[in-house]
């Protein structure tokens, strides 16, 4: 029983990574209508920038938490402005294929520069160590991950669903022309939204750097799972992706307890079942 509690907590920790990443994907899909396959690569970029900052420039974890997502966001906006923008009027299949190609380029470049095994990023001093909860040993850094991602996720949800800025964003997806007529600069808004979405990926990358090995392939193993999370939650549903991310993290934790080898597959099985029963996902609107 004690072991079960431990697995559930660990599932929640993983779930908060899924939530952070799927939130970014959902924002981008919901507002820009692009299925961003490069999300995993940008997550990896965020982690790598944090590591490079530390080893080359001596920039520590705390500044990196801000600077690295910023850099990833700017990179995303440049890509959006110069290339991705041209695909908006087409089937969103092309956006998916474009970002798939982008993923290969980004991963290939990092691979060429830094090899495949990657490097270790130390846990910041203030967050080292951990507490014994009785049923498990909880590293302090993991607790921090859960806390921060919950704050960021629900903060983003609040901004998008409950503020005026969010209202513009949502209106932009419903009817961009009308919004443009009201004097809102819609193209700029979409650029910023895309930048924000990928910055979230970069942020998740920095959060992950002290836990996982920082390596070029760290994003590609995650992206497919995160896709499944977004689909189960309902493409474009902000709250749906957050809750599903946490929930599927828990389910995965349970699977690791009862039948570990299926842990990588259970999410896809759930995805297939959910889509057959509720085509728009758990939280999506039926169209």
């Amino acid at each position: 029983m004690q072991a079960l509690y431990g697995q559930l907590l660990v599932g929640l920790i993983n779930g908060s990574f899924y939530a952070l990443l799927s939130l970014g994907l959902a924002v981008i899909f919901g507002l820009v209508n692009v299925v961003n396959f490069a999300h995993g690569a940008l997550y990896m970029t965020g982690a790598f920038l944090a590591w490079l900052g530390l080893s080359e420039l001596g920039i520590g974890y705390w500044p990196a938490l801000l600077l690295s997502p910023l850099a990833v966001g700017v990179l995303g906006m440049v890509v959006e402005r110069t290339m991705l923008r041209r695909l908006y009027q087409l089937d969103n299949l092309y956006g998916l294929l474009f970002t798939f190609g982008l993923t290969l380029i980004i991963e290939g470049l990092f691979h060429h520069a830094y090899g495949n095994s990657g490097s270790s990023y130390p846990v910041p001093e203030a967050l080292q160590g951990g507490t014994n909860l009785g049923f498990m040993y909880l590293p302090r850094y993991r607790a921090w991950v859960v806390l921060v991602s919950l704050v960021v996720c629900f903060g983003s949800w609040f901004v998008i669903e409950r503020t005026r800025l969010g209202a513009y964003l949502r209106a932009g997806t419903e009817n961009p022309r009308l919004l443009q007529a009201f004097g809102v600069n819609v193209p700029l808004m979409m650029t910023l939204t895309f930048g924000f979405g990928v910055a979230l990926a970069g942020f998740a990358g920095v959060m992950a750097a002290p836990i996982y090995q920082v390596s070029p392939s760290m994003g590609s193993s995650l992206i497919i799972v995160v896709f499944a999370v977004v689909v189960v939650g309902g493409m474009g549903s902000i709250l749906g992706s957050i809750l599903t991310g946490l929930g599927l993290g828990l389910v995965e934790g349970l699977t690791k307890y009862f039948y570990p080898p299926a842990a990588a597959t259970v999410i896809f099985a759930i995805m297939a079942v959910v889509l057959l029963l509720r085509p728009a996902g758990l939280f999506g609107r039926e169209t």
Binding site: L97, G101, A262, A272, L275, P279
Partner: protein, 327 residues
Amino acid sequence: MSGPPGLQEARAAYRAGIITPGRKRAFFIAMALSGLALPLAVYPVFLMNVLCMALFASAFNLLLGYTGLLSFGHAAFLGSAGYVTGHVLKEWGWPPELGLLAGTAVATLLGLLIGGLAIRRSGIYFAMITLGFAQMLYFLAVQLPFTGGEDGLQGIPRGTLFGLIPLDRTLPLYYLVYAIFLLGFFVIYRTIHSPFGHVLRSIRENEPRALSLGYDVDRYKLVAFVISAGLSGLAGATKALVLQFATLTDAHWHKSGEVVLMTLLGGMGTVMGPSVGALVVVTMDNYLSGVGDWVTVIIGSVFVVGVLAFRRGLVGEALHFARNFPI
């Protein structure tokens, strides 16, 4: 006018008289004949690999280019057929013709099962459901004892075709593979140009209208899916026979992505496009290995440039060129 740009271009070429029935016949005959002579000039095992992938991509294109369904799990059919064929040849000692049939049959059944569930949705959701099922199949391929896990099934015997032609020799094997490719290609071509194919296209262009005209849309989609899955299986079974092994690579989602790349690169919705795309991708795979870790960057750039600037694909661009600068 809707549909993939490659298909639009092909239609425009028809209207402009670039493609005429006579020219088409001449082209296909020339293609068939050059395929006969090719192994004398080019390395045959490489050619057979290209033919298998070309058949796979053409089968995929039947779904994406002509029915408008993007499957992101087609590797499931390619991979499972390879395993089944390998198993019946190696462990049960079946002759190659039955081995190929068994692989194709299993892929067809899988297609019926997965397709039956998946075609109820469309667009990005369809892609995700097929991906989900393919991932489950991949899991089975890792777990089931007969697949040999990550080592794969190795040393599959090629046997003797119809008890007459020993397939251990390269050239007889090549002509068998070539015949299979032509057969598969012919099936796809006939499907596209039959009344059935016209209904498929009308579904892709305007599903509600096709529905209101009284077509059982789901059934049409399912039949297309099953044909596509079966032919993908045939490609996988043939590949296992040629290379004498079946591995996880062919069941992995990377393969599902690769077939999208082939189709996109060659020209979605053109008859020849996927084969041209397969040729380019397999060639890159085989001949770029000398440039080391730049391969991924190069393939990625091809993707990006293709999507941004050449959405018609190689064949579509060629037709476009021919239309604007008639010879």
